[in-house]
Symmetry: C2
Subunit: 288 residues, 2 copies
DNA sequence: AGTTTAGATGATTTAAACTCATCTACAAGT
DNA sequence: ACTTGTAGATGAGTTTAAATCATCTAAACT
C-alpha cells in the first residue's frame, strides 16, 4: 500500500493543489506563506518525478494540462477531507462546549468561566443551556439527576441541601413566627424532591410554621430570596459562590444529603485535552 | 481556505495515518522507511499542535482515542484519494499505450517498439489492436482513414502507394504476361480505396493483364506476396521497413499519393511527456 | 520602447525531519 | 521473582529537504 506516493513530497502536492486551484503560483505562494520561487520549485520537482507536465507555460501565464486537471481534482478533494477533519479536531482541542441546567450555568459555570479560561488560556469555554443538541460529539453535558440513575464514575458532585438567607439578615426564629421558605419542585416528576423533610428532622424542627413557595428551578428561588430578604432551601453547590461572596449567609442549621447529583454521562469517553482539563477542574472546584 | 491545517505538517499526518491504520509505530516506521523514533516524534508533535491525544498509551501498547479514530478515517480517505490519482498519473507518465490497426501494429509499431524503448528507457510502450477501449484516457489511437475526415493537425502520415515485390525477384514485364497483384479492399466501405487506377495512369500502364487478389488488410497482401514471390500494391508506410531490411524491393515504378492517412484524433490533447515523446518519435520516424 | 509582472533557474541558507543513544515499562520466558 | 526482549518516549545531534535570495526571461500594459 501507498507505494507510489512515497516518491513525491506532500508539500509539493499541497503547493500544486493551491496553484491549480488559484491558477497562479504567486497566489499559491501567498496562501501558503511562501515565496513564488518555492512553488515553482515544488511544481517542477513534482512534474519531473511524475514525468508529466501539470501546467502549460504560456510565457508568464499558466494553465493546467489535462493531467493537471485530473490530479488537481483528486488532491483538492483529498486535502479538503483531511483539512475539515483537522479543523474539527483542532476546535475540539482548543475549546470545551458544555451544556447544563440554567441554574447550574447561572450560579456555577458562568461565574467561574473567567477563572477557568484564566487558568487555561489556550482553551475557550462555551456554555449552553436547555434542550441543546445534547449528544453531539464533543459537547459535554452536565446533568442534574438521581444518583441511582447515574453511573458512579460519572458523578461529579453529590448534592446536599440547606437553608440560606440574604447576608446580614437576622437569624430566623424557627419555632415562633411564620416563616416563608422558597424551595423547588422540579418540572420533571421523576426526579427526587428536595429533602426538606429530612432537613427539618435533622435540625429538630417540625415545620408547622413554615410556608413554602415553590419554583421549578432552584435559581429562581435563590433570586427571590435575595430580592425579598427571604429564606431559600437549596443545594449547597448553587449557594456556595454566593456564600463566599457574602451575598448569602448560612445559619446554625445542618445540611442534609439528597438523592440528587450532578453527573456527566459517559464521563470517561471525553478524551480531548480540553475536556479532560475541564472535567478535572470542575470536579475539583465542586468538591474542594 | 486551508487556514488550520497549515499549522500541522503533512508528513506528521502521514505518519499518523499509517500508525493508526496499522496500530503500531514500528510497523508504520517500516511502511514509510523511517525509524520508530521519527513516528513517535511526528505523532507527539501532532498531538501537541492539535491539543488532543490521538493514541492511548497503555505502556508499550497503543490504541486510538475517539478523536484519533475520527482523524484516522479522514486522513486515510484523503490520502487514499490522492494516492490513487498519483498512481494513475505516474503510470501515464512512464508508459504509452497505443492502439491501432493490426497492419500498422505488425508492420511498423511492433518492429520498432524495441528501438523506441531503447531511446526512451524510462518509458514502456504497450501496443494493442482491434476494438479496444478506444477513447479511454491516456490511450493513444493511431487511426487509418480519409484525409478529409481527419483534422490537419492530427495527421501523422499521408499515405502513398506503390507496387512491391520480394527481394531479388525479376522485375515484372508490365505489358506482356499476366500478372497477379495483391491489393486491399477495406471492410469499411466508407474508406477511399487504394489508388490503383491513379497508379496505373501515372506509370503509363493499362492494367489489362493484371489480375487482382484482394484482402481486407494490407498486412495479408504483403505476407502473401512474400510467401508466393508475388507482387503487392500497398502503402509506402507499411513497406518501408521491409524495403530497408531487404525483404521487399521496389521497381522502376513511381508511387502515387492517396486520400488515406494515419492520424491521431485530438493529437494535441495528449500532454503527458511519454505521449509527447512517442508522438514526436513516430511522426519523425514515418516522415524521415 | 520602457515598465511592470509572473515565473524559471541556480546558489545558498535555514529549518524541518530523521537518526542515534539512552531510558522506561510492560510482556514473556526461565 | 528474575531475566530478556520488545515498543515506545525523550533529548541531543545530524542530515537533507525545503525555503530564500539574487538573477534572468518573456509576456502584457502602458
Amino acid at each position: 500500500m501507498w507505494g507510489l506516493s512515497l516518491q513525491v513530497s506532500l508539500q509539493a502536492l499541497k503547493a500544486f493543489e493551491s496553484a491549480a486551484r488559484q491558477g497562479s503560483f504567486k497566489l499559491a505562494a501567498e496562501e501558503l506563506s511562501l515565496t513564488p520561487t518555492a512553488i515553482s520549485h515544488h511544481i517542477s520537482n513534482l512534474e519531473s518525478r511524475l514525468n508529466v507536465n501539470l501546467f502549460h507555460r504560456l510565457g508568464r501565464r499558466i494553465s493546467l494540462t489535462g493531467t493537471g486537471i485530473r490530479l488537481a481534482k483528486a488532491t483538492s478533494d483529498g486535502f479538503r477531507k483531511i483539512d475539515s477533519a483537522l479543523e474539527e479536531v483542532m476546535k475540539a482541542g482548543s475549546s470545551v462546549r458544555v451544556t447544563t441546567t440554567s441554574s447550574f450555568a447561572a450560579m456555577v459555570l458562568i461565574p467561574s468561566q473567567h477563572e477557568f479560561e484564566q487558568a487555561n488560556p489556550d482553551i475557550s469555554m462555551e456554555i449552553s443551556t436547555g434542550e441543546s443538541v445534547d449528544s453531539q460529539s464533543y459537547i459535554i453535558p452536565i446533568r442534574f439527576g438521581d444518583v441511582s440513575v447515574a453511573e458512579d464514575a460519572d458523578v461529579i458532585k453529590s448534592e446536599s441541601f440547606n437553608v440560606f438567607g440574604t447576608y446580614g439578615m437576622a437569624p430566623p426564629s424557627w419555632s415562633n413566627e411564620p416563616i416563608t421558605l422558597f424551595t423547588t419542585e422540579w418540572k420533571n416528576q421523576s426526579l427526587p424532591a428536595p429533602p426538606l423533610a429530612a432537613w427539618l428532622e435533622k435540625n429538630g424542627l417540625d415545620g408547622s410554621n413554615i410556608k413554602l413557595k415553590k419554583f421549578d428551578q432552584e435559581l429562581f428561588g435563590i433570586q427571590q430570596a435575595m430580592a425579598e430578604n427571604g429564606l431559600v432551601f437549596c443545594s449547597t453547590t448553587l449557594s456556595k459562590r454566593l456564600l463566599k461572596s457574602n451575598l448569602l449567609q448560612q445559619f446554625e442549621t445542618r445540611s442534609v444529603k439528597s438523592d440528587l447529583c450532578y453527573y456527566v454521562p459517559n464521563k470517561h469517553s471525553f478524551e480531548t485535552r480540553s475536556a479532560i482539563r475541564f472535567l478535572n477542574w470542575i470536579e475539583y472546584m465542586l468538591n474542594q
